[in-house]
């Protein structure tokens, strides 16, 4: 069985099998503008080890771009690579700053799954996004109603979440019962076998589509949008300025005019009161974060009852930012690490002290968000480490 079922499992994996990785990181606060107390920033834009990203202001606007641990210029924190069929967890973490006026602050480690680049900041109508599903796994049908999945490209079949909306493509003929260009919803059986339901409700109920006639012909591919947390369960999003040139003047309301939640329901919208963007928002800053009226934490609020985002279908600002660009990141928060005092390292034992052992999926792209407890000087250095183990 993958994962840790006991401390015996853990000590065996860590010592006998040497299934662990230590990542030492140091990241600087973004270089453009002093961070504002009460505001959130993403440290991906800051220099250090790993260096500043050169990813999140590239690519075609409004098209979802997945992010992996090895994405060129992504510069996420390396966690030891793919380990499937094992499960990887974070077991310890630390962070420290010797820079005056950084502490107190709070760091949040996130796995960024992908992003939408937004370059039209004077368009005040809803901007439709492009969400093209990508080849996620190849599938074969050896047993009635059951599909066996195998990793393909940079995606890992083990990462497929229950109830994910998927479509199939094929180089030949799909097994009878399945069709191309049709939504199906995953009924996860094991890490390498699934059935599919014809609707989200059927998948939750375990009612599988009948696949009646063998394997079909050719190679069959299961396609998803997200590379990890594929159903959107627990997936959050944040808007952040991603260009060395700050956004222009303007304080627009920020909203997702249409998103699909983790129950695969589209047409969801950001609830009122809408987050208010920051005028001249600087590189790295989460545009609506802060403490004033209309300001929020790092993540875009979800509609009542929603607990995750499967995809964003429309992005809207109510008034213009006169120039610049921003990015909408889809992410999952993994770990919170408060730095309370200048010079005092924050240390977290995630097995005994705060038992959580956050899982890190193969391909995860890890970045830090920071909540500024003070006005954080540009290039403020933060140092720390992450211990990972897998079994």
């Amino acid at each position: 069985m993958a994962g840790f079922s006991s401390m015996d499992n853990f000590i065996n994996a860590a010592t006998t099998l040497n299934q662990r990785w230590r990542a030492d990181w140091n990241k600087n606060f973004p270089p453009t503008t002093t961070g504002v107390q009460g505001q959130w920033d993403c440290l991906a834009r800051g220099a250090g080890n790993p260096p500043a990203d050169a990813l999140f202001n590239t690519g075609t606007a409004l098209v979802f771009q997945p992010v992996y641990d090895n994405t060129t210029n992504g510069t996420s924190i390396w966690h030891g690579g793919a380990v499937n069929p094992a499960y990887k967890s974070i077991i310890n973490a630390s962070a420290f700053t010797a820079a005056a006026t950084v502490a107190p602050c709070v760091l949040v480690l996130v796995d960024i799954l992908g992003f939408y680049r937004v370059t039209a900041t004077t368009t005040t109508t809803a901007q439709a996004t492009t969400n093209t599903q990508m080849a996620f796994a190849t599938v074969t049908c050896g047993t009635t109603n059951i599909l066996t999945t195998a990793s393909t490209g940079t995606n890992y079949a083990i990462n497929l979440f229950p109830y994910t909306r998927v479509q199939f493509t094929t180089t030949g003929t799909l097994p009878t019962g399945l069709s191309t260009s049709t939504d199906y919803f995953v009924i996860k059986l094991t890490d390498s076998t699934i059935s599919v339901g014809s609707s989200y409700a059927n998948a939750v109920a375990g009612t599988a589509v009948s696949i009646t006639s063998g394997t079909g012909s050719g190679t069959h591919t299961l396609n998803t949008l997200l590379p990890r947390y594929t159903s959107g369960a627990g997936v959050q999003s944040f808007w952040w300025a991603t260009n060395a040139t700050p956004l222009g003047a303007g304080t627009p309301n920020c909203s997702h005019s249409n998103y699909t939640n983790s129950k695969q329901t589209s047409g969801q919208v950001t609830p009122t009161v809408l987050p208010v963007g920051k005028t001249a928002c600087e590189n790295g800053a989460i545009v609506y974060s802060g403490t004033a009226a209309g300001k929020y934490g790092p993540f875009m609020p979800l509609a009542a009852g929603d607990s995750g985002t499967a995809q964003i279908n429309g992005i809207q600002i109510s008034t213009t930012w006169t120039s610049g660009e921003f990015s909408v990141a889809m992410c999952v928060p993994l770990l919170t690490l408060p730095i309370t005092t200048l010079g005092v390292a924050s240390e977290r034992d995630l097995i005994n002290q705060i038992p959580s052992m956050p899982r890190v999926y193969d391909g995860a792209a890890l970045y830090w968000l920071i909540y500024n407890g003070q006005n954080t000087p540009t290039n403020s250095a933060m140092v720390g480490h992450l211990d990972f183990a897998w079994n």
Partner: protein, 288 residues
Amino acid sequence: MAGFTKIKDYVDTSVLNGAERYYSWKKSPNQATTQGIWFDLSMSPGNPIPKYWFDATPLTAMNVAQSTDGGLMHGSNVTPSNKYLKELMAMCVTAAPLPMPMILCDYLLYYPTIDDSVSGAQTMINNNVLTRYTSGAGVQMIAISEATRTGGQSFTVNYTNSSGTTNRNTPNILETGLAVTGSLISSAQTSTYAAGPFLPLQAGDTGVRSVQSVTMNGPDVGLFAIVLVKPLAQFNIRGIDAPVEVDYLKDFPVIPQITDDAFLSFLCCPQGSLSGVLILGTIKTLFN
């Protein structure tokens, strides 16, 4: 089979088999360090005795090992068993440098005496290669000041990464102006190109196998060494009233492995001067 398959193995090793070693250490740096600049304790007097990073031919790779260079005593080689860090205690009775995070590293290979005043690439001679963590996986670079310096210039390092890819380059790294031997010259609190204790690597790299050259972006005054290290464990001395005690199974469960002949020493980040400060502690290892 080397290692521990279950907690009972671990306990038996310690309690019944006697495969446990306990050593003390003491370091007495006499440098007037400043707040927030990382410092290497290897060259400081005490027990173990200092290891100087300028004691070999300039720019020529030299291996570091317990058997030849000392470092924190952790016991003799144990192959075919594996050795692990079980516990660590550290204390400091002077308030000036505290609170102070520290990182225990295995020092692997060093390139002595890189001259800040030389313009153009200074090419390293790699007659020696890593003998521990031989691929370079997880191996980091630290740049240690060997002499007083002016600081303020930046430099880059050309290296081979842990995948064996050559011609990799760090970004520009700013030299701190702290004129103290033993300080990590990359260390700065808030400045463009500021870095922590470890030199930033090229995007996508996670470890270093060897260094090919160092290029100063402008002339400076000073000398430094680049040392390849494998970080193993970290802890934090918070105040003069309480030693820090870490059990690496129970407190921060990672049980770092200490390879045969490892040279162990500490990096620290004081909040004030380390001059005349006594830092001491113990280390407990066990092997199975």
